[in-house]
């Protein structure tokens, strides 16, 4: 048996880095702060890889099943003898996988940021918050009980808020930070109510009890019902709302595109690779409960995922801001992961959706982080986010060009790049379960290939824009992470997930089905081909198409007016109608009665002060009288 206690350091080192950089960062030189942060994270990364090696290969499956390990566990709060909150490290295939993914991407972003954030006045602050975020995210995935996970959810929300608002002089950044915080916090409320429901009925927060496959603890929840739906379904739906907020699923997706106001490494780390998959991770963590206890909720999960995926892909086609395109593509890909979980069964080959979701999470982390960091490199070179300012960059930025190309091929699902393998598994799972979701997913695959190629051709080929300065390749601290991630994006598809991360921990046979793979490759190539026609050379065909589509185009460009809808609901309806009437009620009725109470208390206080006369005889009298009154009362009461 291997002692995994050291895993606690994977989490603690980033926390220490946060404290050190937060307290003493301002006294350090920028480069020192950056190197310190990166070194700390490097240690965590190495430990994570060691853990993964031990867990998956050295120990391996016992009787064909990967065992979950409670590596570290302390009792933190005991509410009752049974209901206790623990903090600790819980290792199972998905948490070990997440440790590797998070530390890898985070390390790349750390190194990249040393170059990208160079000269920024908030350099040390940025790195300390980056460490805080990494800590929070790791804390979340190794959660040993659901409250720890909730704390992690809140902490990542907080650090995301801090990092989106990094350029706090910019009003847009501040607004985006607020929006992200409020929307996700709102969703977390659902999560919390879900937790309360689950713990109330089962009497435990502990994952080892909740997800050990013994469904009997949920019997009470399944029996009780509320508004025609049993409590467990309610609880799981509420928990899913929490996940949907963090993962920016429709209709809580509105914060993610705005979050792109943060520095690009933050977008790569938080809003592409790690935090936004927290919702996926949450559903995966509770998957066994979803599947056996609340299949209806899982059905909802599948449809929300599929819809988000399609919806975001359509919007992505029309956007011009390079980071926003990537943000919508992130939404779309997370939709994929969620729908894969939604259509998954449990155990063996049935659980292919679960495996596919985790697989896609990993490959997506690689290629999406790569895309964002590549975009950052481009923005760094030409100081603009707008697609219309770019063109012909392949000559100036060869490394960015090649790595970006690998990422685009990967996300488009072209073999042998990683995205193909994981997407193929998702499509296979959807095909088995639900044809509507399958066809929508295939369509999304085509759209993805199209909009990513549009981006790619416009930026690196297309028209030759006149630049103020000649764009140049980024420094090596930025390109090396790109190269490392591109290796991941290219080859992560060959990781045998079916032998490592499966729904029941057991290995199953997975094979490539040509009837799934060929159509998806076909439609991806078709998407790329169309993009090639329209965007490879500068032409006015795209403009013609957009004018002919008119209204439809404008709606999509404005993201289906979802922001406006939310604004209308919040500002016009909630603020004006509801809030104002409540405010009136508050001013007149609540304040009035409060003032009344205050007046009564004041008067009583004045009057009763006379009792306190300073006369000893009176005190003694009241003492004795009080005793006698008590005696009389009790004589009356009990006799």
């Amino acid at each position: 048996m291997i002692n995994y206690t050291y895993t606690v350091w994977i989490v603690l080192i980033p926390l220490f880095m946060f404290v050190i950089l937060g307290l003493f960062g301002m006294k350090m030189r920028n480069s020192l702060a950056g190197i310190l942060g990166s070194l700390g994270l490097f240690t965590s990364t190495v430990l994570s890889y060691i853990t993964a090696y031990f867990y998956f290969f050295k120990v391996g499956p016992v009787d064909g099943v990967f065992q979950s390990v409670s590596a570290y566990n302390i009792e933190w709060l005991a509410f009752t003898d049974t209901l206790k909150v623990h903090l600790g490290v819980f290792l199972d295939p998905i948490s070990v996988m997440m440790l590797v993914v998070i530390t890898t991407v985070s390390l790349m972003c750390h190194i990249y940021s040393i170059g990208y954030m160079k000269g920024d006045t908030g350099f040390q602050r940025f790195f300390s918050f980056l460490s805080l975020f990494t800590f929070s995210m790791l804390f979340l995935v190794i959660a040993t009980d659901i409250i720890q996970m909730y704390i992690g959810f809140e902490l990542v929300g907080l650090s995301s808020y801090l990092l989106i608002g990094h350029y706090y002089e910019k009003p847009a950044a501040v607004a985006a930070a607020n929006k992200a915080f409020i929307v996700t916090r709102f969703a977390d409320f659902g999560f919390f109510v879900g937790i309360l429901l689950v713990s109330f009925y089962t009497g435990t927060f502990d994952f080892t009890v909740l997800i050990n496959g013994d469904g009997s603890i949920f019997a009470g929840m399944a029996a009780a019902s509320f508004m025609g739906m049993n409590i467990i379904t309610w609880a799981m739906l509420l928990i899913f709302i929490g996940g949907a907020g963090k993962s920016a699923l429709f209709p809580l997706h509105i914060w993610l595109p705005d979050a792109m106001e943060g520095p690009t490494p933050v977008s790569a780390l938080i809003h592409a690779a790690t935090m936004v998959v927290a919702g996926v991770y949450l559903v995966a963590r509770m998957f066994i409960v979803f599947h056996f206890q609340a299949p209806d909720a899982l059905e909802v999960v599948a449809y929300v995922g599929a819809f988000t995926s399609l919806f975001a892909a359509i919007i992505a086609i029309t956007q011009y801001d390079i980071k926003r395109i990537l943000a919508f593509s992130t939404l779309s890909q997370i939709g994929y992961m969620i729908l894969a979980l939604g259509v998954s069964g449990y155990g063996g080959e049935e659980g292919v959706g679960y495996m596919a979701s985790m697989f896609h999470l990993t490959t997506h982390a690689m290629f999406k982080a790569l895309l964002f960091l590549g975009a950052g490199s481009i923005i760094h070179a030409i100081h603009s986010n707008d697609l219309r300012d770019m063109g012909g960059l392949r000559k100036y930025m060869p490394i960015t060009f090649i790595t970006f190309a690998i990422a685009v091929l990967s996300i488009s699902g072209i073999p042998p790049f990683s995205g193909f393998w994981s997407k193929d598994e998702i499509l296979a799972a959807a095909f088995e379960h639900n044809k509507i979701i399958y066809f929508s997913s295939v369509l999304v695959a085509g759209l993805t290939a199209f909009y990513m190629s549009r981006l790619f051709f416009t930026v690196f080929f297309g028209k030759k824009t006149e630049y103020h300065h000649t764009p140049h390749e980024s420094p090596w601290v930025m390109t090396i992470p790109l190269i490392i991630l591109s290796i991941g994006a290219a080859f992560a598809g060959f990781i045998p997930f079916n032998e490592l991360v499966t729904s029941d921990g057991a290995v199953f046979e997975s094979h490539l089905s040509m009837s799934i793979a060929l159509p998806s490759i076909g439609i991806a190539l078709l998407g790329i081909f169309f993009a090639f026609l329209l965007y490879y050379k500068k032409s006015n065909t795209p403009d013609k198409i957009t004018t002919s589509l008119g209204f439809l185009y404008k709606t999509t460009l404005n993201k289906f007016y979802f922001d406006e809808l939310y604004l209308f609901v919040t500002k016009k309806i909630i603020f004006n109608i509801i809030s104002q009437s409540i405010a009136w009620f508050d001013r007149h009725v609540v304040d009035g009665s409060m003032n009344g109470i205050a007046w009564v208390i004041e008067k009583t206080s004045v009057k009763s002060k006379e009792l306190q006369s300073g006369q000893l005889q009176q005190y003694a009298f009241i003492f004795v009288a009080g005793t006698i009154i008590l005696v009389l009362c009790f004589a009356y009461l009990f006799n």
């Binding site: 933190w76 709060l77 005991a78 208390i601 004041e602 009583t604 206080s605 004045v606 009763s608 002060k609 009792l611 306190q612 300073g614 000893l616 009176q618 005190y619 003694a620 009241i622 003492f623 004795v624 009288a625 009080g626 005793t627 008590l630 005696v631 009362c633 009790f634 004589a635 009461l637 009990f638 006799n639």
Partner: protein, 474 residues
Amino acid sequence: MMNLQDFLPMRHEILLVFLMIVIILCEIFISEKSKHYVINISIVLFVLQTIVGFLPIQQGNMFGGMFQNDLFRSTLKNILSIGVLIVFLQSSGWLKKEENKGKISEYFLLLLSTLIGMFFMVSSGDFLMMYLGLELATIPITALAAYERNKSKSAEAGIKLLLISALSTGVLLYGISMIYGTTGSVYFADVAVNFGKSSLQILGLIFFVAGMGFKISLVPFHLWTADVYEGAPISVTAYLSVISKGAAVFIFMIILYKVFGALFDMWNSLLYVLAVVTMTVGNLFAIRQNNMKRFLAFSSIAQAGFILLGILGSNAMGAASVAYFVLIYIVTNLGAFGVVSAIYNASGKEDMREYNGLYKTNPMLSLVMTLALFSLAGIPPVAGFFGKFFLFTSAASHGYYILVLIAVINATISLYYYLRVIKAMFIDPNDNPIPYFKTDVPARIGLVICVAGIFIVGFATSIYEAIYKFTSLM
């Protein structure tokens, strides 16, 4: 045959007596000029006493069960010791004043003898020992209240305390005599076994509660509190409001649980009523006080009402929540008193309105005061919140939802007057605020202990769990 080892359960008390002897010797042998060394000697000795208190204790009974010591009781004594230590630290500056020069050791001797009384009270196994302890705790404190003999207010406080406590002791003794008369024993264990439900016993219970209600200053037995608190020297007031009250609460709780189990319903409804009245009246009176000492007096009455909620929990959790709350209350209230006393020593001011603008001149003291008041009001994340939380939980776990609701309303009202002080210090303008002054080192150490306690005790759940463990062993 008794040998010396048999006295080990009494270690706390024996050491205290030894300590007093040392102080007397110091008083005799130290020359007039260097008398103030007695302060430091006493403090250092008491630090040792406090530390030794935490060493593993011999559990056991003595004198045929009259004296009992176990882990729970020694924990209670340790809590009280910490409080007394803080009081000593805070009184050092005041004792060094010219007017107190001739009576320094008097202060320590009297205070320590009341502490011995309280230790005996907490450790008592029968009514007689409890009564003796109570008297030993009360009589020296009346002398202490009148410590500033030249001030008429102090003398008034002393005589008032003496007379009212005589009355309350009379009532208490009357109650005990009824219990003895009906059960034929004064031993807690025997009394509990022989309890019927005769009306004489109920009467005994009520008299007992009234007598103890005086010590804990429950309404309507509280009227002495404000006058005595105002008149007595500040460190004595602090001692009265925290240590004296805490010790009384402990033994009150132990006796209710151990002896009056048969009258469970009676004392539950009795305490229910007293809790409601005490919280409400304490709050109502506190609103209008401007003198800081009177203000804290009424706030301490209200807090006593909250403590009753924990006692009503009537199980190990209830007892633990009370002990835990008292610990928090000690650091919190002594923090507040420490600031009041520092300001009084430096400027002679103790009116809330004179605190206006204090933050500008003495920011550290204002912050400490703010923390202490937040903790008294029970605002998270400071310790007071956790203390109240556990008290309320233990009452709620017995189904006293309405009582908890009343308590929450009262806690909200209390927020108003606690914030008044904070408003005075931070917001209200003042052309000539109390000028900056340096607090003496021992008092500063005392305040640091309080602030650390306010933060640590709430967060370190291990403290609560340790108390809970000892309680369940009781």
